[in-house]
Amino acid sequence: MVESIMIKVEEVVVERRGRRLLGPATFSINDKGITAVIGPNGAGKSTLLRLMHGLERARYGQLNLPIHMNSQQQAFLFQHPILLRRSVQQNLILPLKLRGVPTEIREQEVVKIATEFGLNKLLEQDAFLLSGGEKQKLTLARALIIKPNLLFLDEPSANLDRPSTLIIENAVKVVADQGCKVILASHSMAQVKRLAEDVLFISDGVVHGPFFVQDFLQKPPTESAQDWLEDI
């Protein structure tokens, strides 16, 4: 099977206050499926995702995303849920409102996605009163309500118990099967095995890969990857 390579990162460097956080990074990944970004704490996983999403600026280099993955077609799930000080319903409505979606369609979409995520009985509740798992479900539902073509997940289940993690993972699998490209930063190799087809390994800001998950596990490409696998 030959898949077109669509997402290209070339010689990208991210610096903040003179300190290099990432790069130079060069890689290409498919525009379908789930790609995991793995590596030790502070290696630059979040920075890479934020860069690709436009939350960080590259000091040098080029990032090429296909046109159907422009910023309006992307969504980002943060490690710590960022919720508006509003009700669950208002949190879900916001992305549609910002895109000028008519009110009646907004309401239909909100009910639909809230039902999918089991949030339909909580619509009127203040978002901050939700449990950790519910908050992350809400932020995922809010990310998916715009039907993105590119979804970034920054350790989405880092603070969740197993049932909540599985709910999030199932939802991610479904959207990936529907054609949405998913880029997932994760600490958990078990999660990567459950979800991802290929991985990018980052160590000290240097990006290696992509590698097929099985290849990476059987034959770690670098010494740092070998060490990391032994440590986790």
């Binding site: 999403h53 436009g54 939350l55 910023s71 309006q72 992307q74 969504a75 980002f76 943060f78 960022i82 508006l84 000080r85 509003r86 916001l94 992305p95 910002l98 895109r99 203040d126 901050f128 009163l129």
Partner: protein, 223 residues
């Protein structure tokens, strides 16, 4: 009986005018200061820090000086003297807006800055435009902004120097509670002046309670 009746009518008149002038000034200053504060919170440019420092400094601007400047501007020989606004309630509103605008803008900036730190990544991630971001900050920060407006109202309703200069304390035209208090004190009617002071305090508290009650501040869970 006739004298008492006149007294009550006079009291009612100055109380209503106090409310009218101060509420108008507070609404106008809020309409200008709050979006400006929010804009300042999410915009980065060279002079930003200077503007914030200036706003903070202007929070303590002496009202008498504002009154004097507005007087000069509105006086017949002043640049906008042709508008004939001197010694009118409009002149008093202008002076009060100038006095409380920095306070409201500065408090709005602080409230929106904290909120922006919290929402920054999300609102950028959602592809919002600057106007949309300002709307979100103003709406979600509405309780803190309400406090800013009440702080402005409190400063304006108790103000005497500037409105005395630009309003002239004219009976049945520009006399308000604070200028009445000043006048009655100067006439030696301390009892009446104190009574007016009581009315002023009750008025201020009533507005504050009414606004808090209507907006359900402190009732909405953790915000």
């Amino acid at each position: 009986m006739g004298h008492e009746y006149t007294l009550w009518v006079g009291l009612f008149e100055v109380t209503i005018l106090s409310l009218q002038v101060t509420l108008t000034a507070t609404v106008l200053a809020s309409l200008i200061g709050m979006p400006f504060g929010a804009w300042l919170a999410l915009t980065r440019f060279g002079a930003r820090r200077w503007i914030i420092a200036t706003l903070n400094a202007l929070m303590g601007i002496p009202p008498v000086v504002v009154g004097l400047i507005v007087y000069v501007m509105l006086s017949r020989s002043g640049p906008i003297g042709v508008l004939n606004l001197l010694f009118t309630p409009t002149a008093m509103v202008i002076a009060q807006v100038i006095i409380i605008l920095p306070l409201i803008a500065s408090l709005a900036h602080q409230a929106c800055r904290d909120l922006w730190a919290e929402y920054h990544d999300l609102l950028i991630s959602l592809g919002s435009k600057k106007m949309q971001r300002i709307q979100v900050l103003l709406w979600d920060g509405r309780r803190a902004l309400l406090t800013a407006a009440l702080a402005g109202f409190g400063r304006a309703i108790g103000e005497v120097g500037a409105i005395m200069i630009v309003g002239g304390n004219i009976d049945h035209a520009t006399r308000v509670l604070t200028t009445s208090i000043a006048l009655e004190t100067s006439k030696g009617n301390l009892g009446f002046a104190l009574a007016l002071g009581g009315v002023l305090i009750v008025l201020s508290l009533t507005v504050s309670f009414a606004v808090h009650g209507l907006s359900r501040t402190e009732r909405a869970s953790r915000w």
